[in-house]
Structures are given as C-alpha cells and as structure tokens.
Symmetry: C2
Subunit: 228 residues, 2 copies
C-alpha cells in the first residue's frame, strides 16, 4: 500500500473491473487464479494484469497464482470499499429518484440518506424509505449527518452552485450527473457521469461502423465490375 | 471528413465536450472564437484544440478564429447528431424508467419509442407517453419500428441475453447500463455506463485525498516538534 501514491489513473479505473470479476469467481467457489486464466476471463493481457497488480505490492506467488479472496479484499481496501459511505442526492427529479431507489449501491456500502429539492411538490415525499427534504436545509443536514458524498442530479444551470454548497458543507466527494462541467476545491474528489456525452460517442461509433461498411461494400462492387 | 477514419478514440471522446461549449457560445451570441479563447473556456491547451480540430480538415482561419456555428455543425455531423435516432429501453425498473422520462435526450434527437420488460405488473404501463411492452415481442418491434439503439437496463445476469436479442433484431448500437461486461457483434456499436465503477473510482479518490492530507499533517507535526 505504500506505493499507492504513484498509481496512475488508468490503473485505478481498471480496479473496479478486476473487483467485479473477483466477485464472480468467489461466487463460483474459485480460490486461486493465475494471471493467464484471469487474462482469458477479463480480456486484458496476462502481462498487463501482472503489471497492474504489482502496483500494490503484488499479491501473486510465482507458479501459484493469486488468491481470489485475498485479491478481492486488497482491491476493496485500496478502493476504500471496506467502509460505509453516506450520501445525499440533490435534485429529486427522474434521475435523482432512480438513483435513490437503486438498491445496488446500498448493497455495496453506499447509503443514500436523503434527497433534496427546491420543488414544494416534491419536498416531504418518500422514495422507498428515502425522504425528500428542502434544499434550504442541506448544509445543516450534511454537517449533522456526516455525509461523505453529494450526488448532483440538478440541471446544468444550478450544478455549480450545488457543488459549491456541498463542498462548503463538508462532503469529501461529489458525483456529478448534471450535463455540464463543474469545479470543486482540491480537497473534494469529483467523479462525473456525462450521459449525453456517452450517447453522442455511441452515435459516432454507429456512424463510423456504417461508413466503413459502406466503403467496404463500394470496394466489393467496383472490384466485381472490374472483373465483369 | 475524408480523414475521419484515422481519428483516435481520445479525440472522439472530447468532441461531445467541444460541442457542449459551442452550444453555450451560440446561446451567448458569440460568432467567432480563437483557439486561445476556446482554451480559456474549455481548459484544454490551445495547441491541443488546434490539433484536435485539424483532424477534421481544420475549420479555423489563421488570425480569424473558428466560426462557432460552423464548428458546431461540423462536430454535430461528425458525431452523427444531425439525424434522429430511435431507441428502446430494455428493463423498465427504476433506472429504465428514469431514462425513459429524461427529456434531455429527446431534445438532442434521441427518441425513446418504447420500453420493454418481462414483469406483468409493468407491461402496459405508461411512462410519460412511453409504453412498457412485453419483452417477448421485442424482435418484431425493433424490426418494424426500425429501432437504431437498444438501452440495456436489466440486471447483470440477463444483460448478455438482451444484447444478443437486440443485435439479432438489428439495432446498430447498444448502450449498456447493466453492471457487467457484454459482447456484441462487430457491426454493432457498444457504449457502456458503469455506474458502480464510477462510484468506486470516486471512493478511491476520496480516500487518496484523505491519505495525502493525513501525510501532510503528519509532516507538519513532526516538522513542528523538530523545531520546538
């Protein structure tokens, strides 16, 4: 763990994926796995896997493989998933409500404690046990309830103001779903889910595949007519 | 556009972001922008911006800057956002319902035509004008309604089967929200939103910041006691 500070972002981004596969292996009762077997499963090369896992001191033993449970626990600890996190959602519209009701996060130790909105028609409502509170009271709530993470589900125009308020109130991390870029103080971690950007990338790749297919078809045709 | 085939994935990933800023500039009535002004706004270096936009033949004129509207239209066309896309959602649970109701996509030309589920309590329901249909009929629907994109919001265990069925039915792209990796045929584009992975990254960065702060604090203390 001492080497932790030097780990590249690219490696960090792969850790949740390693962890997901380790959970599957645990479920299947697999106890040991070699980097080669892991490679077949996850799709990274065996050397990439060894290199990634060496960042953390290396859990594998030559000719023996990795302990599935040991690796799972180490990666969980590195990711900070051996604790519980308390979260609030700001913006209780469709997306905020969906996240509030998504029990998957709760099972992983991420607990949604409350949602906040400015809409009087929403304030006081209950989302499967999670209350929608008045945004006016968010700073007090975050302080008193020791909230770790604020999830921003408001629209583009209000996202920065919400981020400022959450940071001021003392959250350690912000998870931003608003379709805009926001800035946070250096002591607050920021992770962004840009749904529109992701959809636009999909559109690009769809068109790219079709253009390549059309070009290949054109080539086949001109090839055929040259032969005719 | 002829250079299109060589564009790296990293550049493509930046295009939706350029486009978002161009929309903001258009709203403000800005007609021209230099790479330097654009750099101040978006945070990439001016040389990065020139390099990125040169991939598409270069829309800028020396000493004149980029035409905001021209650049917006070109990037939109490159991303394939000058057309309309027809989408279906598979899995009408909380997340599927939220996406169905998220009007933001519709405004951008991505239309959700229907949602599908196997749950008889959900089939027949209406989500703000989008009907939940029986998953049994999805292949016929995708074929008849010429659906371009399938959005997967089912659980981990069913995601691959849904992807297979959507690909078979003829979608050109799949947007996967299920917390698992799926495979699609090479003629189908795939874009993934891993919400759990994103949350785990956030947890890592939060812990990383705290570890660094603790180490800095430790250093200050030992420094102080050495001086005392």
């Amino acid at each position: 763990m001492a080497k932790n500070a030097k780990i590249s972002n690219a490696v960090i981004k792969r850790l949740p994926r390693y962890r997901r596969y380790l959970i599957e292996l645990k479920k299947k009762g697999v106890e040991k796995i070699s980097s080669k077997e892991f490679s077949n499963l996850i799709g990274y090369t065996a050397s990439q896997i060894r290199q990634d896992l060496n960042n953390f001191g290396g859990f594998g033993q030559q000719g023996y493989g990795y302990s599935v449970d040991g690796l799972y626990k180490e990666i969980s600890a590195i990711l900070g998933l051996d604790k519980e996190y308390r979260m609030v959602i700001v913006g209780a519209g469709n997306l905020g409500q969906a996240i509030a009701k998504y029990t998957h996060f709760h099972k992983q130790g991420f607990k949604v404690c409350a949602a906040f909105d400015i809409n009087p028609n929403l304030i006081g409502k209950d989302l499967d046990g999670i209350e929608i509170l008045d945004y006016e009271n968010i700073v007090e709530y975050v302080e008193e309830e020791e909230i770790d993470i604020g999830i921003i589900c408001v629209n583009r125009d209000n996202a920065q103001e919400v981020a400022d308020k959450l940071s001021f109130a003392g959250v350690k991390g912000i998870w931003n779903f608003a379709p805009t870029d926001i800035e946070v103080p250096s002591h607050v971690a920021l992770e962004v889910v840009h749904l529109s950007d992701s959809l636009h990338s999909l559109a690009y790749h769809m068109n790219d595949i079709q253009k390549k297919e059309a070009a290949a078809e054109e080539l086949r045709r001109s090839d055929k007519s040259a032969r005719d």
